[in-house]
Structures are given as structure tokens and as C-alpha cells.
Symmetry: C2
Subunit: 568 residues, 2 copies
């Protein structure tokens, strides 16, 4: 009898593992089971289905050549049997059996397996709020949720939406409501920034400001205490107030579906998630697991990490498919790369944010740079803001995050750093990273090389200063007289600020410092500013050499001061 | 007395090394000398100046904040002395002196140095053709050449241009003539493809076809024997014929300017170029060299490599600047990344092309994939063609090249592979490379992961077949009866070909193979075709398992067949 592989869960990981194994082992029998009758869909595409960018739900479960990945597709095209609307109720490892139940008929039966794959995914984290069961309150867990949400939208049912949680899905859903449907949308987040833990508060604020410009409202640092309404939702209540809503989306992260694995005695993490080795094998050598229900290894810290992403699931699925067939394939530790499109901007990152790095015990610092993403003389370009997080003692690059209108160009840089994260790169590895050069695509000294050079200069003490957040604090404290805000651009650039703030704003162009440094006070903290932080860095080097004591360079200059929204 | 560093050559490397050193060592004296009175310009921007994308020549020598990098700029802003129009005639290493000559006054003098940097760049390779001295025949060696060419163009002097050499600069110049100025432009290349050695003939042909669609003519595989005219150029003559031209650009590569180094006894390569160590130090510990005049190490082969690119020069300049100040900085081996924009497409690569790899002695194969550069259900996307070159025995990734309308997205993938080239990646390192995922930016199984998976399947023997070049040979030989061209798409897709070629074209949709394989001849070579090579791969796996002997999958399917220009 031919070998029988059973795969539990038919979204992302499961189908990939099943089909890969079946291609290698045409003689084997593969059974793919799923609780749902809609499966093998691209869940990350749900916000684009809701927005209308993707017009039909079936597009998310179709191949590039427009075939719907349903039961006949898997049978005819892939040679894989699918049991949909079928729940795996328990795994009997001793007898190598999966107990299943048809959710439509209630019929229970047993599948014998030779090898088993668990790809049970994750479930939206429930907040268990009072009023959560009101009509028009949704979690975004599957295509049915997505279709219900979109149906109401296209019927014009909603005028005001609240999204609880400012992570990827929350921001994408908020964009889809506000951008395409003109729904008044408010995002409520328990942390005081969007994308908490993913990037610094500074980058987060740039993203938030851009979304606010596009009409999305934010309530940050607030916990939702209840959802209220009469049958249908009417408002969301926080300690700080109420927000009216006829549509509520709760996107507060996901938790791994490890119950089945846990109940049959497979090793699981205390904090949730099935533990697998590099081959994606569980503690039972006949059982593999992957995707949103497992714990993998963090390439930066070596610690366990939960990284529920469709891309991880797909790549892991292929590794499992090979290993089911006797290959010796390994899935490497992950850096945790991400990207999110928010209206006309993208935010992306890999590795750890400054906050996450410090929380993990690193003595980390970050630097921020804003620079054109191609030759500055090339007419079409975007300004890219990058923040690089480095460990002071070892000079290791711990992470990099960014914000730009040129999403593809930025993601390309993030991916290049992600590619070397498992080799534990140092600053010099990024300083000299070989970015392909031609003026329409990069600078001769590319923005990626430049951010690493800046980190090098920060660690060596040559570039000392602050980002726009600390600048804002200094500026708010300007009446203390402790600070001299020194604009080192040419006079014409500085003039509007000199006129507006004659008491606080000063101007000595960088090239005139050797002649005019006597004009600069030695008893104040010198807060240097230029357009993007380049000339102010050179000015800082000069002033340091001239014996000035507290010279503070504003990284990213007026460009990030503006993007951060400092009131100046 | 303060230390004196002399830097010979003030384009790219020289200024970078000089300014970096000066920033670290404010007390030192730095003298930057250059033969030319126009220096510190972005030479790679010349085609964009000629096209008019960059309107003024000075933009190529201006900072991002619009200051021209002239003598006062270097003096006031950078603290570096510039001697322009000054040639270094010899280096006296024993006495640590550079002999110089002012090219305007003829005055000769001597500069004492403590440390020296040679950044003398490269010179266009002369073809020494009869007629090369005719009016309106140009090499593109510096800004003066660029300004003369553009002046003639803006004055409407030229109607027909010939570009000799289909490398980066040749293609960029051809685009600038044809696209912006409507000049009838012909590119003549001695090799039988554009971008020889940089990419495969297949990718090259895709680029060529795109340029031809935009009106550029190509004469490939032809050596120019003479340039003819009466005072002014009138035509370019090859063995195969003549091409009329009132403007000729010769761009046949560059040769390193190592004469000065060679004459003072510094170690140089037999084939040209100054030899430097990882610190960019020459055989004299007091002398550094970098940029287009040096030989560096190839990250793939470990062999010496000449890689004249402005980006290399800039990064090397910073390393030299640090090392002049006593740092211990190293410049890593390079993979040889490149990118060129040709009209609405980009071509890019890193590492070795298939031809270059085989020439270097690798038992290499390549695979070709065409796929959307983001989620296929996302409305805005481009099809990206990638070709990956791998070593059969070791599974090492030797190079990757591509062609796409989505330049930034493609370059980002190339850069990610380039980033790991120095770690000698294997196929699985790219299969599992962590591409940041979100539908607007990548596929869950990204095109980059997919090309590596395809290479894996090729090496394991699961995916066996050919690119469009070999397909074209089979197709040309279709009357031999040796081949069955089997379209495994749905009937509607295959129908136009079935009608046009009823004798040669056959159709069994992939999902129907298990039922219909008796219709497929067993005595012919089965050439499988689908849209992009995905379904035909699955069909191949099925047919192999069914015992068919010669099953040949067409990589990239109809999409690359079309892009390659097969007459079908």
C-alpha cells in the first residue's frame, strides 16, 4: 500500500507541503483536511478584497492562471485529496491515526497516517470585551469574516468604523475603509504608537501622520473597555472617551492553534505554539508542523519567536514537503521582516526595533537618516527614511526599519539586510553592502550604505545628536535659554525661521563656521539643523574640533522634523 | 607640522577618501589634485545629462543641497585643498613626493606627502579605428565630452547616431538619443548579444527587443572596421555593411589608469590595474588606491576582478579615508552587481552569468522564471524574469540576472542575493531568503524564493527542460517530426495555436493528463508549454511518473517565448 500523508489545515502551509510532497512522491496518497469549506486562500489579501482592489473573493483563492483552488483543483491538478468542512478532533500518535469529524454531517471517522503535518494556523486574539457580540463587530479570521464585512460596506451600511489594534491588519483595514469607501475611520491602540514593537515611535509617528492626512483618526495609548449598542454596535468606549461606530474590527494579534498538538502530547511552548526543529519536525518524528501554529528561532537573538506570516508558511511548507519525502531540508532562523503599505507610503523593517532590542537586553542605539532613494540628480526619486539599530559593544546590526513613498526601493534595501541577518552582520557589512548602482536606481553611496556609515560615526562618537523626538523636547524647552538652535544651511533656507523665531533661531552656514565661530555661544547646548542632517554633521565635526562642548546634531534635519510633525 | 595627505584624482574615490579622512583628522592637511578643471562629478549621470533628464551639467557635480563641488566648496565646506588642472607626473616613493604640473601654466612643482591616495580612474578603451578622429566621433570619458555631445544635440546637428559597444554606457547613450531627441540610433556590438558577459543571450535578447520596439537598431556580432566621412563623420563600416551616422559614440569599455602607479614600482596586474589588499593599500604601505584604477577580489571565484563603478569607488573611498586615519577597515570581495535602465525596462544582475561561470570553469546550469513581482491577485504588478546560475556539484548560487518593467522591485531582489554572495550561498539560502511580505510588495512565495526552488528542482532532475532559445530551435525543427509541442493550458488558451499550427500544436490541459495521457505520443520528444512554466512543470512531473521518456519543460512558458521574440 502506498504511503499516506495527512495534512491538517489547508491554508498556506498545508497545501504547499501537501503539493510539494506529492510532486516528489507521485505514488503516495496525500489527504488535506480543513474545518472550513473555503480554504487555500491568501489571507493577507483580505484588506485588498475589502477595499475593492481585489474585486472577487475567489481571486484570493485562485492561481496566477485563474483557477480556483477548490477540491477538484487539488484532486485533478495536484493529485491531492481534500476533505473540507472536516475537523481533526484528535491525534492518536500511538496508532498513527487522526480522528476527524465532518462538520456538515456530524459523521466521525478515522484516518490512518504514515506521516502527519499540522498546519492549523492561528486565531485572532479575543479581547472578550463587553459588547463584543454585537452585530457589526468583527474579527478578521477567515474569508467568511471578510465577505461579511465587505457585503455590509458595499451595501452602504457603515459610515463610521473603529479598528481596534494598530498592527499590520489593523492599519490595512483602516486604509481600505477610509481610502476606497470614504468611511470615517478611527484606529484605537493600547500602545502609544502604531506598529508597536515593530518600529520606533519616531517612524511610527511619520506613518500615523501620513494616515491622518488621508483622513484616518487615531486614539493611541487607550484600552477599549467596552463596545456598546442596541443589537448593533453604536460606539466603542475607552477610559479617555467614546468613539461612535457602526462597524468595529478587532485586530489585536493572533494566537497559534496548538490545541490539537498539545492534547496529543507534542512539545509546545508555554506561551503557545508548537515547538519544531530546523527540519520543521515536532517532538514526534512522524509529525511536522509549520506556519502560524509554530514557534521558530529568531536569527538576531537565537530565542524562540512567533512569526505568523503567509510567506513564512509557504517557505516552511516547501521544506516540510521535501522532508516528508526523505530530504534533509532546513528552515533557517528568521529575522522577522515585514512591510505594510499605508496609502501612498510604505513602512518596512527587519530584525529588531530599538525598543525591542533594549527589551531583549542589548545596549542598543539607533540612527536615523533621510536621503533620496536614487541619485539626487535623477529627476524621479523619493526620500527614504531609514533607522538602523546597532549594538554598541559588538557593532552588530540588530535591525533596520524605514518609511518611504518608494516602497519597492525601500523593501529592496530591507530585504538585503534581512538576507545577511542570519550571519549576524556588523555595521561594516552594511557600509560595504554591494547595492547595484545606476542613477535611476541608487546613489553611488547608497542610502543603505549611508545609514550604516552614520551608525559607524555614531558609535565612534563623531556624530552625536538626536532624532526629531528629542529635538521636539529641546524645542519645547527653548525658553529655558539652555539651547542655541543653529541652522547651518545657507541664509536663504534659514531666513523664514530666523524671522519667525528671532530669539531662538540662529544661522551660520556650515562653510562659514571657520570664519564666524566667534558668533556661536559656548555656554549653550548647540542644536544643529540642516535639511537632512548631512551638513549639520559636518558642522558638528568642525565645532567639536574648535572646542565647543555640547554640540548636538539633529539626525534627518528639517526633513524628519517636518515628517515627525514638530510644531515649528 | 600636521600630516599631509595627497590624493591624486578628484572624481568619486578621491573626494570621498579626502573628505572622510579630513573629517576624522581635522588637524591634517589634505590636497586633492586633478588633471581636469571639472571634477567631483557623477560620471554615471552623463547619459541622463545628454538625454535632458538632468538639465544642467553642474547638477552632476552638485550636492543634494545644490552646492557645486568646486574648489571653494572643498576648501570652505570640506577643509580640503584642491589643485585642479594639475597633473601628477610622477611619484617619488623614496622621498615621499608627488611631482606635479599645472596644465594651464606649465609650471612644475613637488608635493611632499605623508600618505598618498591614487584614484586616477579609467580611460575609455580606444579602438584605434581609421576615421576615429573625424568630427562628431566621441568617447565618453569626462564632462567635456558630455557637454560637447549634448551641445551638438540641442543644436539639432545630429539625425543619425551610431553607438559602438552595447555595454551599460552604450545602451544608456542609445536610449538618450532615441528616446528624448528622436535621433535614429544604431548600436553596433562585436559580440552577438547586448550586455555581453553580464547576462545570458536570452535575457539580452529580451532587452534588445524592448529597445528595438522603442526604435533603436542593433547590429550584433560585427566588428567596426572603419569610420568614414569628409571632415565630419558620415558612416560606420563593418564587415557586414555600412551604417550612416552623423554622430558616433564609442563605448567599448574602459582601461584602468595605472601608469603612474606602475612607473613608481607599485604592484600592478599584468592585465592592467593597481593591486591592493583588503584595506585598499598598494604594495607601498603609505599609498592607497581605489576606484576604477584598481583590481579587487571577486566574491564568487576569489579571482582578481576589474569592476569600474562609481558605487565601488565611493565605498572604497570611505574605507581609504578611515585607513588613512589609522582605522582597520576592510573592503570585501565584490560580486559584481549591476543595473541598467533601458526605456521602460530594467536589467540587473549580480555574480556570474551562465556564460561567465562556464568560462571560469564551473559546471554550471541556469534556470529561468517569469512571475509577478507581487501577489498575483494584487492589481498593480509587473512580470519579472529572473535567471539563476548555479553550480551543479556544490549547489552554489553563482549569479542571478533579471529583466523587468518593475526596476526597483527587481533590483531589490538582486541586491538581496548580492548581499549574501560573499558567504557563498547555496540554492537553499535563496529558497528560504526572508523576503518581507505583504501583497503590494511580494508574493507569499516570492519570485526570488521561487527561482531558487526551480534551480533546486532542476538539479534534482524533477524539472528538466529548456529556455526560449532552445525552444526556438525545436520549433524551427518542427517539420522533422521529432517533437510534439504539448500545450498543457486550458483549451481556450491553446486554441489560437491549435488553429494556426494544427499539425504541430497539441493540447491536453494539465489536470486532464491522468485521464487523457493515452492521446500523448510516446515516440516523440514532448515539449511542454504553458503560460509561465508552472503548470508545464507539474505536467512534466505527471508524465515522468507515467513513464514518458523525453519530457521537456519550457521554462518561462509562452511569456518568455514571446519576450524572446520566437516567431510563433
Amino acid at each position: 500500500m502506498s504511503e499516506h500523508v495527512v495534512v491538517i489545515g489547508a491554508v498556506a502551509l498545508g497545501p504547499k507541503a501537501a503539493c510539494r510532497f506529492k510532486r516528489i512522491r507521485q505514488d503516495a496518497k496525500v489527504t488535506l483536511i480543513d474545518r472550513d469549506d473555503v480554504f487555500s486562500y491568501g489571507g493577507c489579501g483580505i484588506p485588498y478584497f475589502v477595499s475593492g482592489d481585489v474585486s472577487e473573493a475567489n481571486q484570493l483563492r485562485s492561481t496566477a492562471f485563474h483557477m480556483v483552488r477548490d477540491e477538484p483543483f487539488f484532486k485533478d491538478i495536484k493529485g491531492v485529496d481534500v476533505l473540507s468542512s472536516t475537523e481533526a478532533t484528535s491525534i492518536d500518535r500511538a496508532n498513527k491515526q487522526v480522528h476527524i469529524k465532518n462538520l456538515k454531517t456530524g459523521e466521525e471517522s478515522v484516518l490512518d497516517y504514515d506521516q502527519l503535518v499540522i498546519g492549523t494556523g492561528a486565531t485572532p486574539r479575543k479581547l472578550n470585551l463587553p459588547g463584543e457580540d454585537l452585530e457589526n463587530v468583527f474579527y478578521v479570521g477567515n474569508m467568511h469574516d471578510a465577505e461579511r464585512i465587505k457585503q455590509g460596506i458595499t451595501q452602504g451600511k457603515y459610515g463610521k468604523a473603529v479598528v481596534v489594534g494598530a498592527g499590520f491588519i489593523g492599519l490595512e483595514m483602516a486604509e481600505s475603509f477610509a481610502d476606497m469607501w470614504g468611511i470615517e475611520t478611527t484606529v484605537i491602540e493600547i500602545f502609544d504608537q502604531i506598529l508597536p514593537r515593530m518600529c520606533s515611535p519616531v517612524l511610527a509617528r511619520m506613518g500615523q501622520l501620513h494616515m491622518e492626512e488621508q483622513g484616518v483618526n487615531f486614539v493611541l495609548g487607550q484600552t477599549v473597555s467596552s463596545i456598546e449598542g442596541n443589537g448593533k454596535v453604536e460606539k466603542v468606549v475607552t477610559a479617555g472617551g467614546e468613539v461612535e461606530a457602526d462597524l468595529v474590527i478587532i485586530s489585536a494579534g493572533v494566537i497559534p492553534n496548538d490545541k490539537l498538538a498539545r492534547e496529543c502530547g507534542l512539545e509546545c511552548s508555554e506561551r503557545g505554539g508548537i515547538i519544531v526543529d530546523e527540519a520543521m519536525r515536532t517532538s514526534d518524528p512522524l509529525i511536522f508542523a509549520g506556519g502560524d501554529c509554530v514557534i521558530i528561532k529568531n536569527a538576531v537573538t537565537g530565542d524562540p519567536m512567533f512569526l505568523p506570516m503567509g510567506s513564512m508558511a509557504n517557505r516552511q511548507g516547501r521544506v516540510i514537503g521535501g522532508n516528508l519525502a526523505g530530504h534533509d531540508e532546513k528552515f533557517p532562523p528568521a529575522a522577522g521582516s515585514w512591510v505594510v503599505k499605508i496609502f501612498e507610503r510604505a513602512m518596512s523593517g527587519t530584525g529588531m526595533s530599538l525598543g525591542a532590542a533594549r527589551q531583549a537586553g542589548f545596549d542598543a542605539v539607533s540612527v536615523m537618516l533621510i536621503m533620496a532613494d536614487r541619485a539626487h540628480f535623477y529627476p524621479e526619486k523619493d526620500m527614504m527614511t531609514l533607522e538602523m539599530v546597532v549594538d554598541k559593544a559588538t557593532r552588530r546590526v540588530l535591525g533596520i526599519q524605514g518609511f518611504s513613498a518608494g516602497g519597492d526601493a525601500m523593501v529592496g534595501r530591507i530585504n538585503a539586510v534581512a538576507a545577511i541577518m542570519k550571519f549576524q552582520p556588523k555595521i561594516e557589512d552594511v557600509s560595504n553592502l554591494e547595492v547595484a548602482y545606476s542613477p535611476p536606481f541608487a546613489s553611488a553611496m547608497d542610502v543603505l550604505n549611508a545609514i550604516a556609515n552614520m551608525a559607524d560615526n555614531a558609535l565612534s562618537g563623531m556624530n552625536h545628536g538626536q532624532g526629531p523626538d528629542i529635538f521636539a523636547e529641546y524645542w519645547a524647552d527653548r525658553e529655558s535659554g539652555d539651547y542655541c538652535f543653529l541652522d547651518v544651511r545657507e541664509h536663504a533656507d534659514a531666513e523664514p525661521f530666523l524671522e519667525k523665531y528671532p530669539e531662538y533661531w540662529h544661522n551660520v552656514p556650515q562653510g562659514e563656521i571657520p570664519q564666524r565661530y566667534d558668533e556661536i555661544p559656548r555656554d549653550k547646548k548647540l542644536v544643529l539643523v540642516c535639511n537632512t542632517g548631512g551638513r549639520s554633521y559636518e558642522a558638528q565635526v568642525m565645532l567639536d574640533a574648535l572646542g565647543f562642548k555640547e554640540v548636538l546634531n539633529t539626525h534627518g534635519g528639517m526633513a524628519v522634523i517636518k515628517a515627525y510633525g514638530v510644531d515649528i
